[in-house]
């Protein structure tokens, strides 16, 4: 249903944005670094920021999963060469860290700049974002201890991102007319079914969401199961 048909009349509503307004809000940074402001920060300066304003949530080494999955870990020197994080294939590291997944360093710059620290988003200065990102990359051994990250050298750092070659977009889920990857058929009678029940709810999960009896109506076609007791047999 093309919505453009909604009107033929230009409304003339809204007004031109001023340059200062666009500057205040247009903060996104793209993979090609369009939008990245000039600036720089050292690993050492980043460590100070990290320990003062980030580590309480993400851990001293970015390893904490107290508030979120770990940021650092699971990448190797070899990954930096190949641009493919090997652990993603082997499954050796089941908990995937940010550095294992992220392909584009711009993503981290953009996100830290717009959203971190979590309780005081947009409070970092530009150079502080460079610095703390330098420190994260240093923890991931992507940049050396004496590194200064800047708008001038970030494209070089991109070439060392461990999972920079780890993304593919040749799938059917971007375009509405894209080709699905899974093809099922709608059999109606005597359809093939593998025997037995292949997976059931683990017993400890039965009551892990509270008593389900209290999450259903007390009338109607069914009652919620009393999950404080084992399932009747």
């Amino acid at each position: 249903a093309p919505a453009a048909a909604a009107t033929a009349t230009p409304t003339g509503l809204g007004r031109p944005a001023t340059a200062a307004e666009v500057a205040a809000w247009d903060i996104d940074v793209r993979p090609d670094f369009k939008g990245l402001p000039k600036g720089s920060g050292t690993v050492a300066a980043g460590q100070v920021i990290w320990e003062g304003r980030c580590a309480s949530c993400h851990g001293t080494f970015g390893e904490s999963n107290e508030v979120f999955t770990p940021i650092v870990g699971g990448t190797t020197a070899d990954d930096i060469k190949t641009g493919h994080v090997a652990a993603l294939k082997t499954g050796r590291q089941p908990q995937k860290t940010t550095l294992m997944k992220v392909a584009t360093v711009s993503t981290l710059w953009d996100y830290i700049n717009r959203a971190m620290p979590w309780t005081a988003p947009k409070s970092l200065k530009t150079d502080e974002v460079y610095a703390v990102l330098a420190y994260i990359l240093n923890m991931g051994e992507i940049v050396p201890d004496d590194f200064t990250l800047s708008d001038q050298n970030i494209a070089e750092v991109q070439k060392r991102m461990p999972n920079r070659n780890g993304m593919e977009t040749n799938h059917g889920m971007w375009d509405i007319k894209g080709k699905p990857d899974v093809h099922s058929v709608a059999c109606m009678k005597n359809c093939p079914v593998e025997p037995g029940v292949r997976s059931t709810l683990p017993e400890p999960s039965r009551n892990a969401h509270g008593n389900i009896a209290l999450q259903n109506r007390t009338f109607g076609p069914v009652r919620g199961a009393d999950t404080t007791k084992p399932a009747p047999t």
Binding site: A1, P2, A3, A4, A6, T7, T9, T11, L13, G14, R15, A17, D26, D28, P31, N65, V67, F68, H84, V85, A86, L88, K101, V102, A103, T107, D110, Y111, R114, P121, M167, E168, T169, G172, M173, I176, V182, H183, S184, A186, C187, K189, C191, G196, V197, T200, P202, H209, I212, Q215, N216, R217, T218, P221, V222, G224, A225, A231, P232, T233
Partner: protein, 401 residues
């Protein structure tokens, strides 16, 4: 129900005391109108609430509250029970201070107030919104006890707003070179998502209305993007900015999350469309049937690619299927409610539903999905859901395929 079903006991007695002794409400004067100028559900309905899944997330402001699908009817989700997913908490923003900016590859970057937007040509459309992570916990094995937690990042509302195409047109977007838009939220996370220009010009709405009133604060008051058929995270809430661009932005939630882990170790990026899916909501896991006999089996079906064409239901774990009734309306990228008769004979059964959309795509079994995408994925689990009915009448979450 069950207790009185025999009838013979009652025929001998005079009858049900709830009939013979007139209830108090038949013998007294009730409450005046507008006792509640804004009404609420009955006091007998307090079991049905949005709830978190313990252990799923670590902090409540970057978490999920699931819609209690097990007790809902039809296709409209009551706004008070619309699922919540925030990345940096929610706010109740003063609309008089809220602004929308459109910039990037446009002739004139513009600023709109809510006054401006709500004067513009508006549309009202019913659409589902499903989080890309809905049913994520079930990719591998069965993990959660009820449909609230397995499928409850799903809601459906009537949205009202101005088509994004109208705004883009008026700002003079670059018809030759533009490929995408970036949508940005006004919250702490300033949530950003890349959306294809194709979608943006089709049926995307810059919306303020939801189910007849303004959006609820938890759902982006006063302005959110409605991106029909596309995963919920792209429906940016507290929308403050749209940028027109010529390449994707690889924002955190499309470069680190909402990416699909494939068996070869790669990720699929920019997987947006929510493919065809369905689930039986009653009876469903964690519910116990009252007795043998007749039941109405009911559920929901939806597709990010258009209308639902058909829903089949099996009560024997997928060996045999019958086609369910679809309730009207059947709208594109909207929930469709299905119903089908079932007489339970008291023996174990496995209930499944399978949806087919207007493109002919058939909702897959979980093993078919895993055969292509492996077991490490999180997002876009649209597999057929199985509910096992035990002899006791208790229904539980299982995988059968």
């Amino acid at each position: 129900g069950a207790a009185l079903a025999g009838g013979s006991a009652l025929a001998q007695s005079a009858g049900d005391p709830n009939i013979l002794n007139l209830p108090e409400h038949a013998r007294t004067l009730g409450k005046p109108v507008a006792s509640n100028p804004y009404g609420m559900p009955s006091k007998f309905e307090t079991n049905l609430l949005r709830r978190e899944s313990p252990g799923l997330t670590r902090v409540g402001a970057a978490s999920v509250a699931f819609t209690p699908l097990q007790g809902l009817f039809g296709i409209i989700t009551p706004s008070g029970l619309h699922f919540e997913r925030h990345h940096q908490g929610w706010y109740d923003i003063d609309p008089s201070t809220h602004r929308l900016m459109i910039n990037g590859m446009v002739k004139t970057p513009k600023v709109y107030t809510m006054d401006d937007l709500m004067r513009m040509p508006s549309v009202s459309r019913m659409h589902f919104i499903e989080c890309g992570a809905n049913t994520a916990m079930e990719w591998g094995n069965v993990a959660v006890p009820t449909v609230q937690y397995s499928h409850g990042m799903l809601s459906c509302s009537e949205f009202t707003g101005v088509p994004l195409s109208v705004l883009l047109e008026e700002c003079g977007y670059d018809k030759k070179n533009a490929r995408v838009i970036l949508a940005e939220g006004g919250d702490g996370s300033a949530m950003t998502r890349t959306i294809s220009l194709d979608r943006a010009l089709d049926d995307v709405i810059v919306a303020w209305g939801m189910n007849g009133e303004m959006l609820r604060p938890e759902n982006g008051y006063p302005l959110r993007l409605v991106v029909p058929g596309v995963q919920g995270v792209s429906w940016v809430k507290w929308l403050r900015r749209i940028e027109v661009g010529d390449q994707p932005y690889a924002t955190k939630d499309e470069a680190v999350h909402y990416i699909d882990a494939m068996p070869d170790g790669n990720f699929r990026q920019y997987t947006s469309i929510q493919e065809c899916k369905s689930v039986i909501t009653t009876p469903s896991a964690g519910q116990t049937l009252l007795d043998k006999g007749f039941y109405n089996v009911t559920g929901l079906a939806w597709s990010g690619r258009g209308r639902i064409k058909r829903v089949d239901v099996s009560v024997d774990g997928g060996r045999n299927w019958r086609t369910a009734r679809l309730e009207s309306p059947v709208l594109p990228k909207c929930l469709t409610r299905f119903n089908i008769d079932w007489v339970w004979d008291g023996s174990p059964a496995v209930l499944q539903s399978r949806a087919i959309d207007e493109t002919g795509y058939v909702q897959p079994k979980i093993n078919e999905l895993r055969a292509v995408r492996g077991t490490k994925s999180i997002y876009h689990n649209n597999a057929i859901q199985s509910w096992q009915v035990a002899q006791s009448g208790e229904v539980s979450n299982v995988q059968v395929y």
